[in-house]
């Protein structure tokens, strides 16, 4: 059984693998602990023991085993920390190459997308803004797509389940995250931070398509936009 | 029950009123500490708040500092007098401290009224002086910090007044010390607020 939804980003695999790694550590530790907890219930049941042994645990020799167990746990914690650090760095820092970029604004209650205009720059007057429920953000396949995440009214959280990326969008800040999609398709963008009554229906789509199709889409978008602007 | 109480001898022999007052002060300091930390963080992020801080009245602030320090001194004298069971002196010094608090509040209200007169209010979205809306948050902090402190001044005065009423009857003289501790805390907080709000410009 696959417990994760399909992964479509370059770094999503890292998070899934991290889960299994931690599961090995945590699972082992859990069952050992359970054994330590339950075994004496059988072994030291009052019907089998005449008198409990008087162990205060204050002596060094008595506490030694617990201390060793604490050290092992700390060690495995740090192993996890080192194992996950690369994934964390990859996701939270930006790659050198920026292929495409968008502004994504969370608002009550949909995501608004801004494409750079024909000049290829964001923040200029020819930017194309799409701000409607159920609208789609088109992204080319296998490219580093940068998302400048903002929020208009309250805190939202940009969550594309299939890429494993989640990032809060905070009013007054611009936070940039990136995704490199590895598979074509249409994926949900949901909001993972409660943002009011409409939180439950705050959903848009990311459409990942090949570069040709993407170029085609962008062209038609520009045409549409200039037609609207011309009127 | 009184005789039972006497059986449970306090192990540390610290009067429990004093201990409770220390904890109350610790709790209060955490509230002010959190608030001051927020203010300092914002202040570091927005250097332009200095333009707003210019409008605080350093002179009145300085006078108020002296007033509070003096009233702290008189409350120490009241405590000394209470230790010597000198009711008359306790009354005198405590009244002086309450008077100090009153004087502080008078100066504070003069300050507030001039500031509000200039349009610096608790929630002023726009300011005539610079048109800079960011700066308005300085006044929110200013009024919140000084207002909360002023509230503590009033509470401190009430506590001292209650201690005074008791002391005049010669009862519960330990309360003079507790009132003094609280008053010192009020003073201490002001010592932090004064440079942060009035001097740093």
């Amino acid at each position: 059984m696959n417990i994760f939804p399909e992964n479509v980003s370059t770094y999503g695999q890292g998070i899934d693998q991290l889960f299994w790694l931690i599961l090995v550590f945590a699972g082992t530790a859990f069952f050992i602990s359970l054994f330590i907890l339950l075994y004496p219930l059988y072994k030291n049941h009052h019907s089998r023991v005449k008198r409990a042994s008087y162990i205060t645990g204050e002596k060094k020799s008595q506490f030694f085993l617990v201390a060793v167990a604490m050290c092992i746990l700390a060690l495995s914690d740090f192993i996890i920390l080192f194992a996950e650090h690369d994934t964390w760095e990859t996701i939270e820092s930006l790659p050198k190459v920026k292929d495409v970029e968008y502004i994504v604004i969370g608002r009550q209650w949909n995501w608004a997308f801004t494409y750079p205009g024909p000049d290829g720059k964001l923040g200029t007057s020819d930017d194309v803004v799409i701000d409607a429920p159920d609208s789609e953000l088109h992204v080319p396949l296998n490219k580093n797509a940068f998302f400048h995440l903002k929020a208009k009214d309250v805190v939202h959280s940009f969550f594309v389940i299939n890429t494993r990326l989640k990032q809060d969008c905070v009013p007054g800040r611009t936070i940039t995250r990136w995704i490199n999609f590895t598979k074509q398709g249409k994926y949900d963008i949901s909001c993972a931070e409660i943002c009011g009554v409409g939180h439950t229906r705050m959903r848009n789509f990311i459409v990942v398509e090949s570069q040709e199709k993407y170029n085609h889409y962008i062209d038609s978008l520009y045409k549409q936009h200039s037609a609207v602007a011309g009127n | 029950m009184e005789n039972q109480r006497s059986l449970s001898v306090p192990i540390l022999r610290v009067p429990q009123g004093r201990m409770a007052m220390w904890m109350l002060i610790a709790g209060e300091l955490m509230i002010f500490g959190g608030l001051i930390a927020c203010y300092v963080l914002y202040r570091l992020r927005f250097p332009e708040w200095a333009d707003q801080a210019v409008h605080t009245n350093t002179l009145i602030g300085a006078i108020n500092t002296i007033v509070l320090l003096t009233s702290s001194f008189t409350v120490v004298k009241a405590h000394e007098a209470a230790n010597k069971l000198d009711i008359g002196k306790v009354t005198l010094w405590l009244s002086a401290s309450i008077g100090g608090g009153l004087l502080f509040l008078v100066f504070k209200s003069i300050e507030y009224s001039t500031e509000i007169g200039h349009g610096f209010t608790f929630a002023s979205p726009t300011l005539q002086t610079s048109g800079d809306t960011i700066g308005s948050l300085f006044w929110s902090f200013y009024f919140f910090l000084t207002g909360l402190h002023g509230l503590h001044v009033i509470v401190g005065m009430i506590i001292m007044f209650l201690a005074l009423l008791n002391a005049r009857k010669g009862q519960k003289l330990y309360r003079v010390e507790l009132a003094g501790m609280y008053w010192h805390m009020v003073d201490l907080i002001w010592i932090f607020l004064f440079p942060l709000l009035y001097i740093a410009k």
Binding site: F4, S33, I80, D188, G196, T200 | L7
Partner: protein, 563 residues
């Protein structure tokens, strides 16, 4: 006051009482009533999640805004009006004076006042359900701007804004903090100052240690949030902009203030429950508590660390990645003392002579469940995995696996252990076991499936997954149904507890003074202990955990027995 306490009127004895046991009972019963309310809210929104759109039995149609309100208030109520009164205030009041061998709290009247302020805060919260717009529905974390001006009308008048659901919630929380601060001062002063002769620090039972450490953490961490709560309230009612980015404020600041308190709060709820374990394990293993002093030291270390881990709740809130690494390391560091504490509890069982009785089985259940919660914490403490798991059902399941055992298993362990003492009656064992197994099994069926829903990507606080085709699929739909049906069973099984509670109290068998053969001082007092607890204040000669000590043939040696 005099020794003739029996002549007190009903009102003085049960309502405006200054007796620590009565006040403890008042806190506990208020907490249980609030738990019933919180449980009912949980039932309503869980039912909606499993059967979206259906009319809910005993409630009717649920709207999205009501759903938001209910999940918010469920969280608020369960943490602040159930966990805090039952575990900290309730247990603290019941146990501290009697376990350290004194007649009452240091400040009985202050104690009574803190309860009444607490009750008032609960009433304010309940009233907030009935104001226009309903109670606040933006998550119990109260994140602005949603909790401030993003919530309703942006420019309300002062009085109108004061009676909004969010204002009332902030006010009620502030009142509750005031009450608990007063109670906390009382606890600490009592413990430091009013111990019986011979009750040196290392002879204080672990429960008292733990409640006091929890109180210190609470008092240390709550101050900034009180300041933050007022800033938020001013944003709502006076229109200031402390957390409004368009006016120079920063919403993230509130998150820091909230979690600076919010994370230690988890330990405030956990520690008293651990204290209860520390009492129960030695008694039922007939063996000294393993490494009693070291447990206390580890707890103090954990308490200090608890105030520097808060930002692990904000890994994806846009904080600096380097800061996130620091908090990740701190989070790992804090798991080390706690692992030591739990291992020491388990080590207590090794080499003991174990009797399985009701309190013991609740304590064991607590540890078993908490292990799940603790080890799933490893996933979330690792900040990379947290990017995915944050704000999904994984986190919901995780913290229910930590908080439910602490609050309810901790409470029930304490309840079944001390009930004979404080009421003088024995509980019905069969009903007790039904209650335990019902709670234990159904709890797992509620929350274990939710781990998978979370890993599958279901995010929290969604009224209806109908719009999300990729996560509104099998097996998650079935898991939601399992969780809901089990939740209904989990709530229903508590009727057994209430029935047992009332029936045993009214007509239970008379309990012995020391039914579990325990060492601590409360078992010396009568059952139930009279006002003033002891006939004579006892003198303490030894630590609380001298079980199966070599100097006696009996397997226990009460603290007050002269050597």
């Amino acid at each position: 006051m005099s020794n003739t306490v029996h002549s007190q009127s009903f009102l003085r004895k049960y309502i405006f009482s200054t007796d620590h046991k009565t006040i403890g009972a008042q806190y506990t019963i208020t907490g249980l009533v609030m738990a019933a309310l919180g449980g009912f809210l949980a039932y309503v929104f869980r039912y909606n999640l499993a059967f979206p759109g259906d009319a809910i039995p005993l409630f009717g149609e649920l709207t999205a805004s009501q759903y938001n309100t209910f999940i918010t208030c469920h969280g608020m109520i369960m943490v602040f009006w159930v966990g805090m009164p039952i575990l900290v205030a309730g247990l603290g009041n019941f146990l501290i004076p009697i376990m350290i061998g004194t007649d009452d709290m240091a400040f009985p009247k202050l104690n009574m006042m803190s309860y009444w302020i607490f009750l008032f805060s609960a009433i304010v919260l309940v009233i907030s359900f009935f104001v226009p717009g309903g109670a606040f529905g933006g998550g119990w974390t109260l994140y602005p701007p949603l909790s401030a001006n993003g919530y309703l009308n942006p420019n309300p008048s002062f009085f109108k804004a004061l009676f909004y659901g969010n204002s009332l919630m902030i006010i009620s929380v502030a009142l509750e903090f005031t009450s608990l601060l007063m109670g906390g001062i009382n606890f600490i002063v009592t413990t430091i100052n009013r111990r019986a002769p011979g009750m040196t620090p290392w002879r204080i039972p672990l429960a008292v240690w733990m409640i006091n450490i929890a109180t210190v953490i609470f008092m240390f961490s709550v101050g900034p949030l009180i300041a933050g709560a007022f800033m938020l309230l001013f944003d709502i009612v006076l229109g200031s902009g402390f957390f409004d980015p368009s006016r120079g404020g920063d919403p993230i600041l509130f998150q820091h203030l909230f979690w600076f308190f919010g994370h230690p709060e988890v330990y405030v709820l956990l520690l008293p429950a651990l204290g209860v374990l520390g009492e129960i394990f030695p008694v039922f293993a007939r063996k000294p508590l393993f490494a009693y002093k070291i447990i206390v030291y580890l707890t103090i270390v954990a308490a200090i660390l608890s105030v520097v881990v808060w930002a692990h709740h904000q890994f994806i809130a846009g904080i600096d990645p380097r800061m996130a690494t620091f908090f990740s390391v701190a989070t790992i560091l804090i798991s080390i003392p706690f692992s030591g504490i739990f291992l020491a509890f388990m080590a207590t069982l090794w080499g003991g002579k174990i009797r399985i009785e009701l309190p013991m089985i609740w304590a064991l259940g607590f540890i078993g469940l908490f292990l799940v919660g603790g080890f799933t914490g490893l996933f979330l403490g690792s900040n990379a995995f947290d990017i995915y798991a944050h704000d999904t059902y994984f986190i919901v399941a995780h913290f229910h696996y930590t908080l439910f055992p602490s609050i309810f298993f901790g409470f029930f362990a304490a309840f079944y252990y001390w009930f004979p003492k404080f009421t003088g009656k024995e509980l019905n064992k069969t009903l007790g076991y039904i209650h335990f197994w019902g709670t234990f099994i159904f709890f797992n069926f509620v929350f274990f499936p939710l781990f998978f829903n979370g890993l599958g990507g279901q995010h929290r606080r969604i009224f209806n997954y109908g719009m999300f085709d990729s996560i509104n699929i099998e097996p998650y739909i079935t898991f939601e149904k399992i969780a809901t049906i089990s939740a209904i069973c989990l709530i229903s099984i508590q009727i057994v507890f209430i029935f047992n509670f009332i029936m045993s109290w009214m007509s239970g068998k008379k309990a012995a003074r020391n039914p579990w053969q325990a060492n601590t001082l409360e078992w010396l007092a009568g059952s139930p202990p009279p006002h003033g607890n002891f006939d004579n204040i006892p003198t303490v000669y030894r630590g609380p955990y001298e079980y199966s000590a070599p100097e006696t043939d009996a397997d226990y040696l009460p603290q007050n027995v002269q050597p």
